[in-house]
Structure formats: structure tokens, C-alpha cells
């Protein structure tokens, strides 16, 4: 029964010894009674800044380009004429086009939806759930009699690309209200991030906390700090745009875990956690990745 024990135990042991080596485990510390997101965020940022002293804080949002000089050169050159240009223009047009009932996306968002991306996701106290930008866009459509968009690409990516672009440079400003449900959502996102899954037994942290800057096959892994700030992205591998939903789903299947459905509670909570611990880092979307 090799496959029962090996993929589960060996990496777990490797992880624990690696974590011990990195001094990450607080061995004697008791589990805190109440989640302290602010302390988490501080420790999260500290970990990456210490691990990569040569990288400026705001540069972490550039993912692999902050980790590898050669890739960075190619990226800087392509940013003069970026591959997401077409999606961005399409998104701008779509955003302005009224629904059949005459209303527009601007009617659903603060400030007409311009320069607001850095506030997403937020915790909706009324509904008791995390609302992401993608979810908000589809809720806006449905409230105005339009069919929802697929969460993983095309139109949804174009719209979020445009909205991200209007917030470029603005620091992420995710809020966790003093509400036990919000804290629970945050904690759930954190749990999801560190939990190993799939036959390959990887967690998000396996790659993006333990191994940023290193290669996974031909790719250079991005650091988890600021990892959502460049979304949505034009990915050369996809020969097209992809949203946060798309990336979560494909990351799951890449470790051979059956993915959840787009915008599931776990995925929204994960986005909430990841965004919160990246607070202060600038929105850089839409982005381009290999």
C-alpha cells in the first residue's frame, strides 16, 4: 500500500523538518484563543521580507518577476505592449454598456465601480459571507435581469481586468469587521491555505511559502505575499486571461485534488485571507504571467 503512506507521510515529515529548519514552528506556543489577523499579517509579511531581503515590499506583487532577474527583463519589455491589452479594452467597453433594463455596472458599486478593486473581498454582514469582486459582478448582473457570467474566463476576466486597472497602484485595503462570522471566514481561508490536499499532497503554502523563487518544472514559483494583487492575469500557458477563480481551480487540479466550484465558500474565504495578509501592497492588475 505504498501510495497510501508515502505521499501522505513522507512530505508531511519533510515539511515539518523543513519548517523546523526555517524556525517557523512555534513549538511551545499555545494556540491563541481568538484569531488575531493583524498579528498574522505582520508575521506573514515579515517572513517574506526576511526571506528575500533584496526585494522591495511593493515588488512582491510581481510574483515570479520579483524572484528572477532574467524573467523580470522579459516581463518589463512586454509590459510596454502587454498581452492583456485586448481584454482590458474589451472590459472597458463591457463595463460601460448598459444592461437590457438601462442600468449599468456603475449602479452596483461605490464610486461607480471605478478605483474600488482594492476593497475586495469584503465581509457582507447582512448575508454573513465573503463577497469577492467576481461574485459582486455576477450579483449585479442577476439583480438587473442579466444571466451570470462564467467565473473562470473571458467576459468575467475582461471586467475584473478593467476594474483592477482603475485601481492600479492603490494599496489593498481589506477589512475584517469585529464580527465572529468574519473572523471565522478569515480563519477558514487560512486553514485552507495551509492544508495539504490532492494526491500530490501539496498545500498552497507548500509552493508559495516554502518554495517561492524556486522552480516547479519550468515555472518559477511566486511568493504568497501579494499573489492576488496582479489578478486577473493573461497567462501564456492559457493563451488567454484567467480570473482568481480559474487559478484556484487549476491549482487544485494540479495537485490532483478535485476542485470545488468557482466562488465556493472555501475559495472566497481563501481569497479573503490571502488578500488581508497582503494589505498595503499595491493592486497591480491586470497582470501577465508565463
Amino acid at each position: 500500500m505504498r501510495f497510501v503512506l508515502a505521499p501522505v507521510l513522507a512530505p508531511v515529515l519533510a515539511l515539518i523538518s523543513a519548517a523546523l529548519a526555517a524556525g517557523v514552528i512555534a513549538q511551545a506556543a499555545p494556540a491563541p484563543d481568538k484569531p488575531d489577523p493583524a498579528a498574522d499579517a505582520k508575521a506573514f509579511r515579515n517572513y517574506f521580507v526576511t526571506k528575500f531581503p533584496g526585494v522591495k515590499l511593493e515588488d512582491f506583487v510581481n510574483g515570479p518577476y520579483s524572484m528572477n532577474e532574467d524573467m523580470r527583463k522579459q516581463w518589463v519589455e512586454k509590459e510596454e505592449f502587454p498581452p492583456y491589452d485586448f481584454a482590458l479594452d474589451a472590459g472597458k467597453e463591457m463595463f460601460a454598456k448598459p444592461f437590457k433594463n438601462g442600468k449599468t455596472y456603475a449602479d452596483c458599486f461605490e464610486n461607480g465601480g471605478i478605483g474600488v478593486r482594492q476593497n475586495f473581498p469584503y465581509f457582507d454582514a447582512q448575508k454573513g459571507e465573503v463577497v469577492t469582486l467576481e461574485l459582486a459582478i455576477n450579483r449585479c448582473r442577476e439583480a438587473n435581469g442579466e444571466a451570470p457570467l462564467s467565473y473562470v474566463k473571458d467576459d468575467m476576466a475582461s471586467l475584473t481586468a478593467y476594474m483592477a486597472y482603475t485601481s492600479r497602484g492603490k494599496p489593498l485595503d481589506i477589512k475584517i469587521p469585529d464580527d465572529p462570522r468574519a473572523l471565522a471566514a478569515y480563519e477558514n481561508g487560512k486553514r485552507y491555505f495551509y492544508t495539504r490536499r490532492g494526491q500530490l499532497n501539496f498545500s498552497c503554502a507548500s509552493c508559495h511559502v516554502l518554495s517561492p523563487g524556486q522552480r516547479l518544472r519550468a515555472e518559477i514559483l511566486a511568493p504568497a505575499l501579494g499573489i492576488l494583487n496582479a489578478m486577473p492575469i493573461y497567462r501564456s500557458e492559457w493563451a488567454g486571461m484567467g480570473t482568481i477563480s480559474r487559478r484556484f481551480i487549476t491549482c487544485n487540479s494540479q495537485t490532483r485534488a478535485v476542485p470545488e466550484e468557482a466562488q465556493s465558500e472555501d475559495y472566497r474565504d481563501l481569497e479573503y485571507y490571502l488578500s488581508y495578509v497582503s494589505n498595503g501592497l499595491p493592486v497591480s492588475g491586470p497582470g501577465a504571467r508565463p
Binding site: 497510501v4 512555534a26 494526491q199
Partner: protein, 104 residues
């Protein structure tokens, strides 16, 4: 041969007989194995921790059974069950273990 030796030889031959498959797997064997695998996969589903590999192995078992190869289908179904159980083990152990990985 002493009495002890005779008992040992007898016990050994019983073990050998038990270890070797007595007969080829039947459709009933397959159905039992497949049901067990499906049940385990369902439990993994309730933990939101199914593996793609389990799903493909289940499908492969079904395909082999449809082709009438119940030996292979039963073996594949048992493998699927093992994979599903491994994913359950992963989910239950990770429930606490994830905290070890957390940055503090």
C-alpha cells in the same frame, strides 16, 4: 516428522491456500468492491477532499467491468477504495496538522 513439525506444515499449507486466490473474481465480487470504493469516495466528498486520481480509477474499474474483465475490475475497484481512504486520512490528519505549517 514430529507432531510440532506436522502442525507447522499444516498451518503453513493453510496460509498458502488462503493467500492464493481461490477462484477468479465474479461480477458480484466486483460490485462489492466497487460499492465499497464508492462509499469511501462519498465520505471523502463530504470532507471536501476527493482526489482526481480516485475518480479516474473508479471510471477505469467501471470500464473494465463493462468489458467483462472482473478480475481486473475488482482489483482496480480495490485500488480506488485505497485511494479514497488515503484522501480521507489526509483530510482528517490535515485538520490539525495544517497549524504546524502556519507562519507565526
Amino acid at each position: 516428522m514430529s507432531a510440532t513439525m506436522r502442525r507447522l506444515v499444516f498451518a503453513a499449507s493453510l496460509l498458502i491456500a488462503a493467500a492464493a486466490p481461490a477462484r477468479a473474481a465474479s461480477e458480484a465480487d466486483f460490485k462489492t468492491a466497487y460499492a465499497a470504493a464508492e462509499a469511501a469516495e462519498k465520505e471523502a466528498g463530504s470532507l471536501r477532499n476527493q482526489w482526481i486520481t480516485t475518480e479516474t480509477t473508479l471510471k477505469a474499474a467501471r470500464k473494465q467491468a463493462d468489458a467483462g474483465d472482473f478480475d481486473a475490475a475488482t482489483a482496480t475497484a480495490k485500488e480506488a477504495e485505497a485511494l479514497a481512504k488515503a484522501s480521507i486520512f489526509q483530510a482528517t490528519s490535515e485538520k490539525d496538522r495544517w497549524k504546524d505549517a502556519e507562519i507565526h
